[in-house]
Subunit: 354 residues, 2 copies
């Protein structure tokens, strides 16, 4: 099934977990992050041309299954993603994802892919792409609070896209910090492992919070936040899950992906429904100011939006021909005569008997 044509109508290219790892390794993690950031940048700049459907969620006691569709009029994409906090107990992932890209003109799927790894990449690329517009000029150091699955990707994205060289780590579980230091040992970072959040944020130009607690937590309190920093808060991303003390939000200029979604899922669920926020696409297209002075606290209240998955899917699709790491799935029924679906099935019988 390997390496068939990208142009056979009834075959859909499929990128497995194994293929995704091969693609990332072949291109290089930092190159992939930079590449996705370019697609993200282009898509955020044409934000208004997207069909922005809210995600369609199916909730249960155990968790949630969501479909996140979007379209730019030429290409349609959706991501399937679940969130099941108790999955760890049975050796499963809390969050898994896969995605599909289709041609709007024909409705035919043109890509099916794993999206657990791809989502980790796009989340990090989004954070760094956003920081290009909001972080203080010449930022070199970043506090990284929460050293879980997303942390290495964040570090590499901020290195390749922003030039971050110094990392200050903290995690409630020292084993996570140790894992991070092991994984990033040869990446050219100056790394300081810290024993408190307070120590981690000292002197950092950028503060990234990527913790996994599903509750109203207070990873950062107001006294920890000095003037001029950029906060990249990506762990508070669903109702009932936040990371920052409310007072920090009151002192910050808050930037979001898509206001209606962030009001429900982001840090600003703690604030009044009319608390002022700026959508990032407005900053990127020059319609709203980003960072205006070097004492300003900027806050990216990131929750993840369908357009980011769309950008990542577009990027991935464009790497298929070059890398060849995909399989063709026989997913689209293709009778010679569309009126004769039954005959197609019966002819398969004849073919089997030959």
């Amino acid at each position: 099934m390997k390496n068939n044509t990208l142009h056979n109508l009834n075959l859909v290219p499929f990128v497995s977990v194994d293929d995704m790892m091969k693609i990332v390794l072949e291109i290089g993690v930092e190159n992939v992050l930079t590449g996705i950031a370019e697609y993200l940048d282009a898509d955020f700049r044409r934000w208004e041309s997207f069909d922005k459907t809210p995600r369609v969620a199916s909730h249960s006691e155990a968790g949630v299954i969501e479909l996140m569709p979007t379209s730019d009029g030429d290409v349609y994409g959706f991501k399937y993603v679940n969130g099941h906090p108790d999955n760890m107990k049975t050796g499963r992932q809390t969050v898994t994802a896969f995605g599909v890209l289709s041609e709007v003109e024909t409705g035919y799927p043109v890509l099916l892919t794993e999206m657990t790894i791809l989502t980790a990449l796009r989340t990090a690329a989004t954070s760094a792409m956003v920081a290009k517009y909001l972080a203080p000029k010449g930022a070199r150091s970043m506090a990284l609070i929460g050293n879980g699955a997303q942390s290495e990707f964040q570090a590499l994205a901020f290195k390749s896209i922003l030039g971050i060289t110094d990392l200050r780590l903290y995690d409630i579980d020292p084993a996570s910090t140790k894992k991070f230091m092991h994984n990033m040992a040869d990446q050219g970072f100056a790394i300081t492992a810290c024993t408190t959040e307070q120590q981690a944020v000292e002197g950092a130009d950028i503060i990234t919070t990527a913790t996994a607690d599903k509750q109203y937590a207070t990873i950062l309190t107001d006294n920890m936040i000095g003037a001029g920093v950029h906060i990249n808060a990506i762990g508070g991303d669903c109702p009932g899950k936040t990371e920052l003390h409310r007072d920090i939000l009151l002192r910050s200029d808050i930037f979001v992906e898509y206001t209606p979604q962030t009001r429900i899922e982001g840090e600003i669920q703690q604030m009044d429904a009319d608390h002022p926020v700026t959508e990032l696409w407005q900053v990127m297209t020059g319609q709203a100011p980003g960072r205006t002075d070097d004492r300003q606290i900027t806050l990216f209240d990131g929750v993840g939006f369908a357009i980011e998955d769309f950008s990542a899917l577009r990027y991935l699709r464009d790497q298929l021909e070059r890398t060849g790491h995909f399989e063709d799935l026989d997913m689209i029924a293709d009778p010679d005569d569309p009126r004769d679906l039954y005959g197609m099935v019966m002819r398969a019988k004849a073919n089997q008997q030959e």
Copy 2:
């Protein structure tokens, strides 16, 4: 990739078009139709336990791409389906589909499958299952107006589930009727090819309309419909597409899958928004009458609903172990340590170099 375990967490069984044909041929078309009808019957009877989200449609000038999710609390399913009338011009299908079934408890997908063939099967099984409750007792003859891709499946479903033996065919294109007669030659039907709709409906106990015109059409007019028949109208299934004259609807007792959707997509889009209809699950659970006398005209205004896809997906899943016709897709990233997604990617590199 063939015939791996159904119990490996990170592998998702995939039923290709080829596998679907093998499953249908191995089990037998009529057995599959009867089997799906049993799952449909069971699911319609517990209608109230389903999460009935409206379909999520992305419209464009060329057509529509839809996601149709539903859940019964234990299992979650969705279908991706497009509708692109102009696809024929480029050798593509007007409608293609694929579907996914997942465990609600974990959010993990447990089945990915082609659904073009499966949808044809579930549509026919639904029609025949519904007719069990509404058609006149002892019905043996059916007019089949529209002899396209759905027609053979309808004929076989009504044969195996209702005992229909006599078919009266009509299609605006005689080539379609000829194709049908060729495909059904050895199935034990008494078939009459007719030259008008009027001739086709004469003496028929059941009238099935399955035409493909995307416009307000009038396949049947009031004078053609005698007392006591059951009309199975499945071709009018989107806004702007109907098959029956309004006067027929005024004389009929109308039965629908899900009222809010059928008001938009079904024959009853021609009627007032409060025109009385009965939901089928109410008939099936004894909460509303179905056919009450032998002069009554019953009308199934079928548009296709997510729960029917769900039933078909459940049926298919239960055939996998028995038939072995599926592949395992490596679609779920499965790091040994969920916090170490990056390490998993890097270890893949080490494995490649070994």
